[in-house]
């Protein structure tokens, strides 16, 4: 397996009137071809900004990516590319789908035209050829009567259909990496499951690597190889899906897992939400950013910033107590079900 994407010490900060927002503050990870990485965390944890940084879609007027940060795609630095080379990767080699399918499609163009647009741009297809290919793509993502529906406008599609169209659009150029930013959050529960199944099936077929961004661990249980948990712009836990789900190290991950609905342990059917709010990214708490909400926080957590340490082979955690083998919550187990 070859490393497709490598993110090194990514720091994306926004300079706003109120101060510097450290949206992403020192994130490292890599993605192998054909693999799925899940990035999990609450809103404001920096997941989406990480994705937009990879796409280089951070607004230049306010967003700054750290000088010592780097993002390598197939060994080549994305951050030092000129705009033209970056555009040739964007949408062609790395594609992205967004959270809200209702607003992510342009209302004044036909769906088929929008799906085929990147083919015209990247593959040099004629408009007619792109339209043809768009029909095939729409068919591939399970849109019935694709030929007719390609001539519809977005408002004639349901939410689930629009997200299918978005997936078709993203996969048009057969990208190496698909970044999916909360692709199911805005959808009905039954539709969510359909979209996830579709993504899994398509991945088997095309071998595209996926970065799946979600706030819902349950969503990624079936498809992720690796899981990265983010909190306040930093990684707090990183490991294989099995490690993170069955042997979670970080109290924040415990909280995330406990707040999932569980079907296997029926007598413990009470959902335990994490108390408190995610911190402001302008005034991140001293010490461990999670300490104000952490039930296990000790004095040292108020002052010492934990770094991401490898605890077991390939499984790391950013908690001062993770080294302690007794600081475990093995009974925490995922539902394995899509909520």
């Amino acid at each position: 397996m070859s490393t497709l994407l490598e993110v090194r010490n990514l720091k994306t900060h926004f300079h706003t009137r109120d101060g510097v927002v450290k949206a992403v503050d020192g994130v490292n990870f890599s993605l192998e071809a054909g693999q799925t990485l899940a990035v999990v965390g609450e809103s404001g944890s920096g997941k989406s900004v990480t994705a937009l940084s990879i796409m280089r879609l951070i607004p230049e007027s306010t967003g700054v990516i750290g000088a010592d940060s780097d993002i390598l795609f197939k060994g080549e630095s994305i951050l030092s590319m000129d705009d033209v080379s970056m555009r040739s990767i964007r949408g062609d080699r790395i594609a992205m789908i967004f959270q809200d399918p209702m607003t992510s499609l342009n209302p004044v163009y036909r769906v088929g035209r929008q799906v085929g647009e990147s083919l015209v741009l990247h593959k040099g297809l004629k408009k007619k050829e792109a339209d043809e290919r768009a029909v095939e793509l729409l068919d591939m993502v399970g849109i019935p009567h694709a030929r007719e529906r390609a001539r519809d406008y977005p408002h004639q599609f349901s939410g689930g259909m629009r997200q299918r169209a978005m997936i078709a659009m993203a996969l048009a150029c057969d990208p190496d990496i698909l970044i999916a930013d909360e692709p199911t959050t805005a959808l009905d529960v039954t539709i969510q499951a359909q979209i996830l199944e579709l993504m899994i099936a398509l991945q088997e077929r095309t071998g595209t690597a996926i970065i799946m961004i979600t706030h819902d661990l349950g969503v990624v249980a079936d498809m992720a190889n690796d899981v990265m948990v983010m909190y306040a712009g930093k990684q707090v836990e990183y490991g294989t899906a099995e490690d993170v789900f069955y042997r979670p190290l970080h109290p924040y991950t415990w909280g995330l897992l406990e707040s999932l609905p569980r079907h296997d342990v029926s007598d413990k059917g009470v959902l335990v939400p994490i108390t408190g709010q995610p911190p402001s990214l302008i005034n991140v708490p001293d010490g461990c950013a999670f300490h104000p909400r952490c039930p296990y926080a000790k004095e040292i957590c108020h002052t010492t910033v934990p770094s991401l340490e490898s605890i077991e082979d390939g499984h790391s955690s950013a908690c001062l107590f993770s080294q302690d083998p007794s600081f475990r919550r093995d009974e925490v187990s995922p539902s394995g079900e899509v909520a």
Partner: protein, 325 residues
């Protein structure tokens, strides 16, 4: 689409009835002080026979609903009455002048489109730049400027001072179509700029806010994620969405310009419907005045209808049966 068309036409009917009724009521006896015959004939001495003839013709001795029916019947036949100054049917006088008004309005619309849209796009795409600040400032001033004063200042500057400074070598015609040393289009420059001024400011403002709104939409991010260049994103994806309200405004404005050129036409002696109405005011020629108002209201309503239809062509959400889900 057809259903939409029919609905729009049906919606026009009550408005048209309301407008005509309002104008009718204005000259109905008893509603407002004054002699209804005078409203029709203007303030000139008339013989008793003529008076009786008018009372008969307009049914002034009958009940109000009957009078309104007669009035409406005449309108339907295209009869706006008779000018007492010119002894011609009002509708003929107006029809003579109307093409000039349309011509001037179209010229102004061209200016409005080119200047307004360009300024709006530039100031949206380069938000907070010097160009943006200048646009915002100048649109505020243009909105507050009285057009008739702007017209006079342009006449002074380009017609009189420029002539003086260049020793008569270069200046622009300041009065409509009377001097033969200029081509016809040159006569239109200053009046068209004057007529376009306020609307251009509005178009620039609307275009700016619409572009800013469009550029913040999710589908713009989708387009960027496809790898489209900034230029393609702006021109292909943002523009078409932002243009919909602008086109509506411009279309409605075309009607408004035809209607409202009275000040500009007066300043520049432009021989259109507005100037005719202005003369009618001076001569107390009420049939021409009231007929001109009806004529223009009708023209405006038709233009607005056409604009609504073009709107449906631009926006698929309307073309295919109303708003999104």
């Amino acid at each position: 689409m057809l259903k939409y068309l029919i609905r729009r036409v049906l919606q026009m009917i009550p408005v048209f009835l309301g407008v005509t009724m309002l104008l009718f009521v204005l000259r109905a006896p008893g509603v407002l002080p004054g002699d209804p015959v005078r409203m029709i004939t203007g303030e000139r001495a008339i013989s008793d026979t003529l008076r009786a003839q008018i009372v008969e013709e307009y049914g002034l001795d009958r009940s109000l609903p009957e009078q309104y029916a007669i009035y409406l019947g005449n309108l339907m036949k295209g009869d706006l009455g008779q000018s007492f100054q010119k002894s011609r049917p009002v509708v003929d006088i107006l029809a003579d002048k109307f093409p000039n008004t349309v011509r001037l309005a179209l010229a102004a619309i061209v200016i409005e489109i080119i200047m307004g849209i360009t300024a709006g796009i530039i100031s949206a795409v380069k938000q907070y730049s010097l160009a943006d600040v200048l646009t915002t400032l100048s649109t505020s001033i243009l909105v507050a400027i009285p057009v008739f004063w702007l017209g006079m200042m342009l006449q002074l500057l380009f017609g009189i001072l420029l002539k003086r400074w260049t020793g008569g070598a270069f200046y622009l015609p300041i009065s409509g179509m009377e001097s033969y040393q200029f081509p016809a289009w040159a006569h239109m420059i200053l009046p068209a700029i004057t007529l376009a001024s306020v609307s251009t400011a509005y178009v620039a403002r609307i275009m700016r806010s619409q572009m800013l709104e469009a550029l913040g939409q999710d589908y713009i991010r989708t387009a960027e994620a496809k790898g489209l260049s900034r230029r393609a994103v702006i021109w292909r994806h943002a523009m078409k969405n932002a243009m919909i309200p602008v086109v509506t405004f411009i279309g409605i404005d075309l009607g408004v310009m035809m209607a409202g050129a009275i000040l500009t036409e007066t300043i520049f002696n432009w021989p259109g419907v507005g100037l005719e109405i202005f003369h009618a005011i001076g001569q107390r020629d009420w049939p021409v005045l009231m007929g001109g108002v009806i004529f223009i209201v009708f023209a405006v309503m038709i233009v607005n209808l056409l604009v609504d239809l073009s709107y449906a062509v631009l926006d698929p959400r309307i073309r295919y049966g109303g708003a999104a889900e």
